[in-house]
Symmetry: C2
Subunit: 152 residues, 2 copies
């Protein structure tokens, strides 16, 4: 069985499902306010991708396209995806969903940067990410890891 990763539409149903995730904060609140004010259309471009099991969202990731002018990680500067909010719900871990989401991000063919936390270093190293050389001014306590497509 292959794990299907879907881009998530920003709508009331999705935001209701997001409440089950720990990393639910100002972004989700802002999206809810925008929906209520009719400021965004259903199915607007979304940074969120997820995996459903029996109709229930059980894992998600967000991928923020970052233009080359804001790049401080790659040489030469390039547009890349900032990977955040990778999270698998309790009870659905150990099924490869986290890996499937990161592999999906890699399949988009753009460099990726992420801030690795809490013992997830080995997970990202196994998936081909590298730790950058720490730069105190730029990184200020973050743990930036990057991945580049083979052709880069």
């Amino acid at each position: 069985m292959t794990t299907r990763v879907q881009r998530l539409s920003i709508n009331y149903k999705t935001l209701e499902e997001f409440k089950k995730f720990r990393e639910n904060g100002l972004e989700e609140l802002s999206m809810l306010e925008d929906l209520q004010a009719d400021l965004i259309e259903d199915n607007v471009d979304s940074p969120f991708y997820g995996i459903y099991e029996e109709g229930k969202l059980v894992a998600r990731i967000s991928l923020y396209p970052t233009p080359a002018k804001y790049d401080r990680y790659f040489e030469p500067a390039t547009g890349y995806l900032e990977l955040m909010k990778l999270e698998v719900l309790p009870g659905y871990k150990g099924k490869g969903y986290g890996q499937a989401l990161v592999e999906y991000a890699k399949s988009l063919g753009r460099p990726i940067k992420t801030n690795v936390r809490l013992g997830a270093q080995d997970f990202f190293l196994r998936l081909g990410f590298c730790a950058v050389k720490y730069n105190p001014e730029r990184d200020r306590g973050e743990n930036p890891y990057v991945w580049q497509p083979p052709s880069f």
Copy 2:
């Protein structure tokens, strides 16, 4: 009894104590390499502050001075402290150490910005922080909260 917050010297002893904390990553590794290569002096300016109990480091915070030119949160732009890596070791929670570290940061008299995670919103709201209006381009999934000294 008052809780005493100390600025932490970057030396082998401190880095050994840091290993007990979960948010131990590229920054600490880089500091270790710099020490080994004699690139930094013992007692160099450190972004870390902590609380000791019976000679053991049990809570820490890092405060990174950020110049006004990089400010994207305050109006008008101002130098501020980026608060990160606030952590109290298991077994030492519930003693007010987290609050003491944030109150110490506030006592430095400069605006503070932090990315609030995992249900710590109420903690920061109680300490006078406010959620910023979420800006997708700037915040990309972060939960920025800010605090300003009364005189600002």
